[in-house]
Symmetry: C2
């Protein structure tokens, strides 16, 4: 149970250094010796301890992934992207859920530091900028997704949320809508803010006077969407379209509209954001703005690997352009 390199060395009749050499294909070693070592290792079922290796190499081949909640349909795809890229390079990932709780995030970062991860990826981090700063100061590579971080040597993988919102609202405006409401997401997040900004910008460029009564501030949940709709549909004149902070919110709006006896898209048009699996499957199928979640995760991990490999070259940022996916929750306004 738990053979060590010493045991293998003994069994093969060589020194431990030789065993290490053949196992890491480093340095010269005679083919015969090599064969003997491999045989002995196999016989003993030897699996080298990454723990011991990490101690001397000062690198653990692990990275930390910090996300709000794996249960939220947007995160599995991004997680998978990270995992695939990590695993393809021999890395293993620690998964941490924070529920957007700064205290939880701090605790997770602490654990990752203790475990000496080679890097960490934050997805939609909270306002604990200090946590990233600490990591950076310690020389731990950091990549941030879904969040801008100024004046810190980290890479960023972003999606142009403002542009996405613009796309969504222009679509609505092009359809003839002018009473357009926004069921906003968590405005403490940059993501929420940018989508709101895009919404405002679209209305402005179309010459539609802003009406703060048509902006509901909630969070990114289904329930929030339901409540948003209850409030927004009570405005007079009633909005004919609602642009939502994300797909979950849009689903909530859809259900509330249904409950209020409104037909979608005839009485009300709805646009979401993200394009999670649900969006295509629900009926009417949701018109939404697609984010390339898997690719974002994959790229984030690749950027992290670059940094781990020492290719710094300053703080990089990659901006993905979202894409409008028109399905069945939007329709032209009968005039």
């Amino acid at each position: 149970m738990g053979a060590t390199i010493r045991d293998v060395a003994r069994a093969a009749g060589v020194g431990q250094a030789t065993v290490s050499r053949v196992l890491n294909s480093s340095g010269y070693v005679h083919p015969d010796t090599r064969a003997r070592v491999l045989q002995a290792a196999a016989d003993l079922g030897f699996v080298p301890s990454q723990t011991a290796r990490s101690l001397v190499r000062k690198s653990t081949a692990t990275v930390g992934l910090i996300i709000p909640d794996i249960t939220n349909p947007f995160f599995p795809a991004i997680t998978r992207g990270v995992e695939d890229a990590a695993s393809a390079s021999g890395y293993t990932v620690f998964l941490c859920n924070t529920d957007n709780d700064p205290a939880m995030e701090a605790q997770d970062v602490r654990k990752l530091r203790e475990r000496r991860v080679d890097g960490v990826i934050f997805v939609g981090a909270t306002d604990r900028r200090d946590l990233m700063a600490t990591l950076v100061a310690e020389g731990v590579p950091v990549v941030v997704t879904d969040r801008q971080v100024a004046d810190l040597d980290v890479d960023m993988v972003l999606v142009d949320n403002r542009a996405g919102a613009l796309l969504a609202c222009r679509h609505l405006i092009g359809l003839g809508h002018s009473r357009i409401a926004h069921a906003a997401g968590h405005l403490a997040t940059r993501t929420g803010q940018d989508r709101l900004a895009g919404y405002r910008e679209a209305l402005a460029e179309a010459g539609i006077a802003p009406d703060e009564g048509l902006v509901y501030t909630g969070d990114f949940t289904l329930e929030s969407g339901y409540q948003a709709a209850e409030v927004l549909l009570g405005r007079t004149p009633r909005p004919t379209a609602i642009f939502c902070g994300n797909d979950l919110v849009a689903l909530g709006v859809l259900r509330a509209a249904e409950a209020a006896g409104l037909a979608v898209p005839d009485d009300l048009s709805i646009v979401g954001f993200d394009d999670i699996l649900l969006a295509a499957l629900v009926r009417p199928a949701l018109t939404t703005v697609r984010q390339p979640a898997y690719s974002m995760g994959e790229l984030a991990m690749r950027m992290l690997l670059d940094r781990i490999a020492g290719e710094t070259g300053g703080s990089r940022r990659h901006l993905f352009q979202p894409e409008l996916v028109v399905r069945s929750t939007t329709r032209g306004r009968a005039r």
Copy 2:
């Protein structure tokens, strides 16, 4: 950067052993000394190396979680359950996706062994029983979810799939259906087999003659459900109800029925399995059999912690009873 226990000792003017004592609250240490050490540690931003600690303690405070695919809506909840329980006990979890590929699973297990995880949880593992056997032989605690494993000292967290299928089919039979088809999941999995068995048993107890033409074997995907429906709806007489391997399959069937111009539930009743978020949100809302995914993950992790703590007491198994959730895809048969 990267202060060590030595640095802290030096700064506090004590020996390293003392620092270790205060940091681990083990052994007596004078309050004043303690304060000085804590101060020095804080000043230096000292974070103990779990890597070094692991080497001597022979335990890493990490566990491995092996699942097929985090992108499949059933797994996030179970993952979250595991994570929450782990994190509450100071453990960190390595996430591994196998795509049900035995080779990938072997590679993941290898990585987890190298990293000397304190235990591993398999969710719906492939047929690589040898992998678990290896782990068990090495003394690594193992808990298996969604899969029976005989003659191996592992704990099991299961849901009574047969009973769930029985529940679903009896519901259909009670509604007056007798031409009931089954869009089965992956039959190489025990889960798929058990649900099929429950389906057969329900028909048998109702005295309905089995018709193998009404059983379609696919896997647990949306696409598989769509194909299943195309085949099954071509049978004559056409089945009036389809019990599906899981919710994703049911959604596929729902879409295919829609495409074929069939009204659900009027022309066709559908029952799924799992009760993922989608099930409640789709229209018509899906009648399904609920599995307590979060609780299953949580319990699995708790059982693993018990084993890690040395409470073996033989192979335990916990069987969750699933629950029928009747929504809108099932209706009585007009006679």
